[in-house]
Symmetry: C5
Subunit: 95 residues, 5 copies
């Protein structure tokens, strides 16, 4: 999975019947220091993520395993909102 | 998924039987500002997209979930025509 | 899918039983103007493509949907020979 | 698969129900000489890997084949801790 | 599929149960002229390939179609040893 932030919404009327009612968001992959990566993805929001939140995005066939996406023609889905990332110090004593 | 625009049509007579009757389009991925990315894809049109329209393209096995593509040897499909993209301002008050 | 041209044949005696009798070709992805891209792929020919022809190549699990590839350990297959590509002029009047 | 080392933990409360109880780790792909590659992945730990250990990471739908990941929306999983890598000398006599 | 050569062996004791008994090799993708590409992969050997041999490597879910890999958490497998590659001359008369 990758980490991304939410930039906006894609509005589409003429679309695959299995996309009806799905929220399609523009997400931008970010680096571990919070800066933007190049590029973007269109992902289905399956967890009710708020705008600008940092989210976990799953790709490929596994996007269809996200809540509500079964058999849908989607290859990218938001599956979690990130509270924080705990980095491990060099002595490994975080846990 | 990615956003792309339609450049043309691929004409192929000698092809896999499951591609019969499918419309194979050349699509060019675009950036969020509407400029072209490098590269291109051959994608099956499943929503009757018009030329030069901006479309949503799904890749990988999920392309076979698009209307009419079940069990077809395709890895890229057009699944929606984009009306517009709503970008979220920094104060997040769009919704 | 991508467009490629055929460069040669891979000869392999010691191989997975499900590859027996399959024609493994070296294909080179090409740009829309016909020039070569970098890189290459080994793809199963499923349509009897001739050498140097421009072909459509499908990747990933969908390569197993091509004629004769069911349950085979292949991730790339030639599924069509390209007759021509019709590019759409800016006024969109091709169709 | 790729080789990576573990950098930290992703904490997420609002997430897909099938991610409940899963340990989501930040992993950084490394080169064969042990130096870091650019980029990172969020992967599910399925083998109880310790921090800073070198691990094997599987991607795509096969991440769902790892212990406990069946039908989960995950595209990356840690499936082994690496003890060592034996490189083969030019004369090929390691085995 | 890609062409690679075998560089060494990954030794892992703590790993997914379905990897028990599998031979995990480090392979390096090569160019058509035999030179190394950057990067590497960890692949399951399913054909008894010898060190330094040139092999065919399949990726993604199709790696699970290789002999013995059914339902295993692997995304890369060696499925053939290459005897030779026959390139087609410009006049196309090889066959």
């Amino acid at each position: 999975m990758i980490i991304a932030r939410i930039l906006g919404t894609v509005v589409s009327t003429q679309k695959d019947p299995r996309l009806q009612g799905k929220k399609l968001l523009i997400v931008k992959p970010i680096n571990l220091d919070g800066t933007d990566q190049s590029g973007y993805l269109v992902a289905v929001d399956t967890v009710g993520a708020g705008f600008h939140e940092k989210v976990i995005v799953v790709g490929g066939s596994s996007a269809r395993m996200a809540e509500g996406n079964k058999d849908c023609p989607v290859d990218s889905a938001i599956i979690g909102v990130i509270d924080r990332i705990d980095f491990i110090p060099a002595d490994g004593k975080t846990e």
